[in-house]
Amino acid sequence: MCGIVGLHLREPALEPRLGELLTAMLGQVVERGPDSAGVAVYGDPRLSPPGRAVVSLLGVTAAEAEAALPGAVAVTADVTTVVHADRSVAGLLAAVADGLPHATVIGSGTGMAVLKGTGNPVELADSFGLAGVTGWQGVGHTRMATESAVTPEGAHPFSVGPGQCLVHNGSFANHATIRRELRAQGVEFDSENDSEVGARFVAHQLAQGADPEKALKLLCERFDGFYTLLVSTGDSFAVVRDAIACKPALVAETADWVAMASEYRALDVLPGIDHARIFEPEPEEVYVWRR
């Protein structure tokens, strides 16, 4: 199983409510993935102040991070520590690799933070303080692990490129083959997780100049298996499903927002849902919305 929720706001007046709405959506897909959860939030001024580099970390405390990274501010959200600093993203990542070699980077970029943990997703959202978060875009995932262990690192989203996130419901069959191919091209991996391979593949394509449509069309050509994917970047929100639409997906769209979820009940919590255009994405068709 696994549950996906995502919300891309078009109406700035709703931005103060992003975390509240995302929390309500996440609460409706708990049964789909009760073992762990994660979210990515775009535009929260506390987690990712404008203009500052942001790196999300596991395996370190806020005090350790601030001690090792002079000038950085660390924010604790459950087992995740989000660090931001007035420097380049590459510079902050290099400082983390140097000063906090035992930390796992679970997200980096500007304007985006990734929070992950294990346990009941509703309790995690509370522990993240998600309801108080603001911003213009958020994605969330509740995980029922099938391919690798239940750990914070194994929770989605997988964020392996600047400001990028991928959440996945399903399982990739040929991930080991593609991981080998990407490793041969110099791509480094953190885990044996199948979804990470999807995220690395997309990040690799985007880094080579593909746009999200192109990257996800290439993913459809290359990957075997079951997938509904929600892929977000610093300016886009994209959905794609496998060739037989094995895993569920619903999109709802109004003038104020675009939302995607595994089940309708997660969309029903949104303001104006009664007037939304609701549809199921077609198999292997890439849907992209831009800010």
């Binding site: 409706q28 037989i244 639409a245 569920p248 619903l250 089940e263 309708y264 009940r265 997660a266 969309l267 029903d268 609701i278 199921e280 198999p283």
Partner: protein, 226 residues
């Protein structure tokens, strides 16, 4: 006077238990605020009328016997799955696997049905006002599927004896599914099905599809088609 149940305050399990009770109020039931809940009005065995005011989640009216269940909204995966008898009507669209494995009764979807509509159908009649998605009537064994719009890829793949009528375009036929002649008895049964579904399409505008019956028994020549 309808019995009113508001799912904003009453759990689905209580609603279903009330619908299953041997002394369930015969006649009309109205269900408010389904908000995408799963398994609404499942497993009814009596001649009840249930109107659900809003969108439902998975398996709505599953295993239905004798009841008439109407969803005034969209339905999630597996609406009327394994229905035995009665009528289930969805006023909006239905997600995948509508009417899966259903043995009898009538399922009407006024809007579109997604992938695998009527998968492994075993005697149910399904009338879809709009389009159906890919692999509809996959392994259908008995019953009739009527599509007033278009059908997606691999219609009727590995079909046994279910009969399929499509008014619009068929993107592709599945393994062992072929177009068949529309004879008088087919026009007559189609007219009856459209009437039962309260639709006014002309049966003469439909084409009939069925099994070529070449996959019933293993033949080595067909090994790639199984």
């Amino acid at each position: 006077m309808a019995t009113l149940i508001d799912l904003a305050t009453t759990p689905v399990r209580e609603l279903n238990a009330a619908l299953h009770a041997p002394d369930a109020e015969a006649g009309a039931w109205r269900v408010l605020n389904p908000r995408g809940a799963h398994a609404v009005a499942c497993g009814i065995r009596d001649d009840l009328g249930v109107d659900i005011e809003g969108h439902v989640g998975y398996y709505c009216a599953g295993m239905n016997q004798r009841a008439t269940v109407t969803v005034h909204g969209n339905a999630g995966t597996g609406v009327a799955e394994n229905m035995m008898s009665g009528t289930v009507r969805v006023r909006g669209n239905a997600s995948q696997s509508a009417g899966a494995t259903a043995h009898g009764g009538l399922l009407v979807i006024d809007g579109d049905a997604a992938a695998r509509c009527g998968i492994s159908m075993k005697g149910v009649d399904i009338v879809v006002g709009g389009n159906v998605g890919h692999m509809s009537a996959f392994m259908g064994q008995a019953g009739r599927l009527v599509v007033c719009g278009d059908a997606g890829d691999a219609l009727g793949d590995s079909l046994y004896e279910a009969r399929i009528y499509v008014r619009g375009a068929v993107r592709s036929l599945g393994a062992d599914c072929v177009e068949k002649e529309m004879r008088g008895e087919h026009l007559a049964e189609l007219a009856e099905l459209l009437k039962a579904a309260e639709r006014d399409e002309d049966p003469g505008e439909f084409r009939r599809y069925g099994s070529a019956r070449t996959l019933y028994h293993f033949k080595v020549d067909n090994s790639t088609a199984y």
